[in-house]
């Protein structure tokens, strides 16, 4: 290495020192929170015993994983988790982009801020409060829908918490209602960064609104969409525990459509379950998530290299 090159390198490191410093708190946090507990993963393969501690406890191979797969529920909970997450991903992205575009086109700054706040509001509400809001609408005896809509119109009241067919729609709707406002912020920020010159030029050349959207807006949003999707894919085996546990009010009758991996693990291990089994469930979820993220990234790499994350 020549003197000049070395000098250049030190210069570069020096140049970036402030940035490294700025990154430090986040890196330290990441290390403490995400990397330090990692050796604890061995718990998934052990029968935990307090006396011997995490590392001294006896190995049990894959026995802790059995409870997830031996039952007939394994298929139902896996299907629910994946299908709901896919629905959330697809509808969530479409609605968030739609909302972002509509918000972006509003000229009055004040109105824009007002609308944005209103659709962001549900994201801020605790899921427990949401569960009671939903209950206020759906309850059989005292619910709004049964008392003020079904009864005056002469329909039989519906026991929402006892009927499975409504819940797939309800849960997807609630997830959208809650998260669209937050997700659209990402897209809104991107839209603001697009040079209006492109649109003006396209309009001059006679491009329709749809053409302007599909040829200009979408390509600009692509990197964000891909990043957000890859992140979501990594979490496809995790479910929004609050949404699936609190909102259906733990009604057992709804389990075939509301039970996900997280709630199943919770119910199964609540009564004196083993630490090993819960660790195993978490290990399984993160493993599948990791593989899926890698797979998605490989696909993105093949389709459009410049948009891949790594």
């Amino acid at each position: 290495m020549t003197y000049r090159k070395r000098k250049k390198k030190t210069y570069q490191i020096k140049k970036y020192i402030p940035f490294y410093l700025m990154m430090m708190p986040a890196l330290i946090y990441l290390f403490i929170n995400n990397y330090m507990p990692m050796p604890g993963l061995v718990l998934a393969f052990k029968q935990y015993n307090v006396r011997e501690g995490i590392f001294g406890s006896p190995w049990v191979g894959l026995r802790n994983f059995e409870f997830l797969f031996t039952t007939n529920d394994a298929w139902v909970i896996t299907r629910n988790t994946i299908l709901y997450n896919l629905a959330f991903m697809v509808f969530g992205t479409v609605c968030a982009i739609g909302a972002a575009i509509i918000l972006n086109d509003i000229i009055s700054k004040r109105a824009k801020k007002a609308y944005q706040t209103i659709i962001l509001l549900p994201y801020m509400i605790s899921i427990v409060a949401v569960a009671f809001l939903v209950n206020a609408f759906l309850a059989t005896d005292e619910g709004f829908i049964n008392n003020y809509i079904m009864e005056p119109l002469g329909f039989e009241p519906i026991s929402f918490y006892m009927e499975k067919k409504y819940w797939p729609f309800l849960l997807v709707f609630l997830n959208l209602w809650k998260n669209v406002g937050y997700n659209c912020i990402f897209y809104l920020a991107n839209l603001g960064g697009i040079d209006p010159g492109y649109y003006e030029a396209a309009a001059l050349d006679g491009a329709t609104r749809w053409q302007r959207f599909s040829r200009i807006t979408l390509p600009f949003l692509n990197p964000t969409i891909i990043t957000m999707t890859i992140l979501a894919v990594g979490r496809i085996f995790y479910s929004d525990f609050g949404l699936f546990y609190q909102v259906p009010m733990q009604s057992g009758t709804l389990f075939p459509v509301t039970q996900t991996i997280d709630t199943y693990v919770f119910y199964g291990l609540m009564g004196g379950g083993s630490m090993g089994a819960s660790a195993a469930a978490g290990f399984y979820q993160s493993l599948v998530g990791f593989v899926l993220v890698l797979a998605t990234n490989i696909i993105v790499n093949k389709v459009s290299k410049e948009n891949a994350m790594f």
Binding site: V50, R51, T71, S159, F241, G271, S274
Partner: protein, 515 residues
């Protein structure tokens, strides 16, 4: 996911808080020790030395439990107790009292060995912690330092709490049996002039509910599930053998483990509930009710529910609900293992001062002053003594403003000694002892089963129960279609394997007992 992160953060914050709390306590008491050693020495000069010598240092132990009510002044109580325990046994305690809601979340963390705790309350069957290695074997310690406990506690029940022949915890003094009852609004029954003295079964209850329904159309006659996701008909007149997956029917008369959900008794129960649901006695939303039964009763939304019968049950329920509550026994009182192992005090296996912890546990069990402090706090600060000897709030204080009032005392090692509260029956301890003796004993009393070999099946069955039982118990679903589904789902989840495992463990236990 947000919830998870949030709860994780809370856990961490809690743990840090706990550690910090322990640290502070240690610091304080370390300061105390040096100061008090002088006193002690001078005391020892004049007094004859008791069982401790001059050179002996005062040992501090860590103890953790919770309170149902407001216990924010527990550090004051701790200091008052230390005054006594330092003199008596040369031990000081560093007490941590959590809120009941925190306790539910914290218990498994406390039991996992990460906290410096010596003496810990155990709720739920102690067998879980034993198989995980949380609890220390206490046989020798009890032999040496447990004389006060031995005097207070009926030995039959201590024997029944043994697991694999060892003592792992000391049962809290209290009722070691209970009956299933109907708990109802006594004031309403009196107001309407109804006669409930002839009610012996669930069917007898129907005319009463009908009369209440006419007078109070907005009040639901009966609630089966509320504020908890636990199914309510757990252990009716059978020994549920911890978890109801395989039980001993007919008050545990014979040592044959059967599947309760296949029995006629269970089917009759859910059919009755279905009939009540269809007749409009049970609230339509009862299966998803999240309000606690006490607030439902207190607010007049529900007239009656399933209760637990024992001496003092009416006073306890009335205190809880804030309205007069009566109990009618549906079954005889039955004593099963979890009645004893469900509320215990144990010493952790990682405790560095097990002897001091045992001495202190013995003190809590047998010293009236210490028990009074634990139960009601400090006289003149948290309560005053009335003319009849009962305790009450200070002038101008009540349940919310009193800064130390754990409300329900069954979690203390011995709440039978050390005063009684205004309105409580002072004879309750005596009555409870008689009640314990007279209760029917399951043949498996003293048998604790270890589910380690069938943990996968238990987890699967728990999910099935969650799916079907609450709705069935509440009468919210059709019995003819759902009950067979429920039974099949349990079979698929492996209930037969659990039953076989239980039966073989029970047979072994019976054989050992016979020897």
């Amino acid at each position: 996911m947000k919830r998870k992160i949030c709860s994780l953060l809370l856990c961490v914050a809690m743990a840090v808080g706990l550690l910090a709390g322990c640290g502070d306590g240690n610091g304080d008491s370390a300061g105390d020790i040096s100061g008090d050693n002088d006193n002690q020495e001078s005391g020892n000069d004049s007094d004859s030395a008791d069982d401790k010598t001059d050179s002996e240092e005062i040992i501090t132990i860590n103890m953790c439990t919770f309170g149902w009510g407001n216990v924010s002044d527990y550090k004051l109580v701790q200091d008052a107790i230390n005054e006594i325990s330092r003199e008596e046994i040369g031990v000081e305690v560093n007490l941590t009292m959590l809120d009941v809601s925190q306790w539910v979340e914290q218990q498994s963390l406390l039991m996992s060995g990460s906290e410096p705790i010596d003496l810990l309350y155990s709720s739920g069957s102690i067998a879980t912690g034993v198989s995980q290695g949380t609890w220390m074997e206490l046989d020798d310690l009890y032999e040496e330092y447990g004389q006060g406990i031995a005097q207070e506690l009926d030995q039959e029940f201590l024997e029944a709490s043994r697991i694999n022949g060892h003592i792992y915890g000391i049962p809290c003094q209290g009722e070691f049996a209970n009956a299933r009852t109907i708990a109802y609004r006594k004031d309403i029954v009196e107001e309407l002039g109804l006669d409930v003295s002839n009610v012996k079964t669930l069917d007898d209850w129907v005319p009463i509910m009908e009369a209440v329904k006419e007078a109070y159309p907005d009040m639901d006659g009966f609630a089966t599930n509320s504020g908890s996701s636990q199914a309510q008909w757990l252990g009716y007149n059978w020994d549920s053998l911890t978890d109801n997956f395989g039980v001993l029917m007919d008050y545990g008369a014979e040592a044959t483990v059967v599947n309760v959900y296949e029995t006629e008794e269970y089917e009759n129960l859910v059919r009755t509930m279905r009939a009540w649901y269809e007749a409009g006695y049970v609230a339509k939303d009862t299966a998803t009710e999240t309000e606690s039964i006490n607030s439902l009763l207190g607010a007049g939304r529900v007239f009656s529910t399933i209760g637990t019968g024992k001496p003092g049950d009416e006073e306890e329920s009335t205190n809880g609900a804030g309205v007069p509550i009566g109990h009618i026994d549906l079954t005889e009182a039955l004593s099963v293992t979890t009645n004893i192992t469900g509320e215990m005090w144990g010493i952790t296996s990682w405790s560095e001062e097990p002897e001091a912890a045992m001495k202190f546990l013995n003190l809590m069990y047998s010293n009236e002053e210490v028990a009074t402090l634990l139960n009601y706090g400090i006289e003149g600060v948290h309560y005053s003594v009335q003319e009849d000897g009962s305790f009450n709030y200070l002038e101008g204080q009540d349940i919310t403003s009193c800064t130390y009032h754990p409300q329900i005392l069954m979690f203390w090692p011995n709440s039978f000694i050390g005063g009684f509260w205004d309105g409580d029956d002072p004879n309750c301890p005596e009555e409870t002892k008689v009640f314990n003796e007279e209760a029917r004993k399951s043949i498996a009393l003293g048998f604790s089963y270890d589910n380690a070999n069938v943990i996968n099946e238990v987890a699967a069955c728990q999910n099935v129960v969650q799916q079907y039982q609450i709705a069935l118990d509440a009468g919210a679903v059709d019995v003819d279609t759902v009950l067979p589904e429920f039974r099949q789902a349990l079979k698929d989840a492996g209930i037969d394997k659990i039953i076989a495992e239980k039966q073989s463990q029970l047979d072994d236990w019976m054989a050992q007992k016979g020897e």
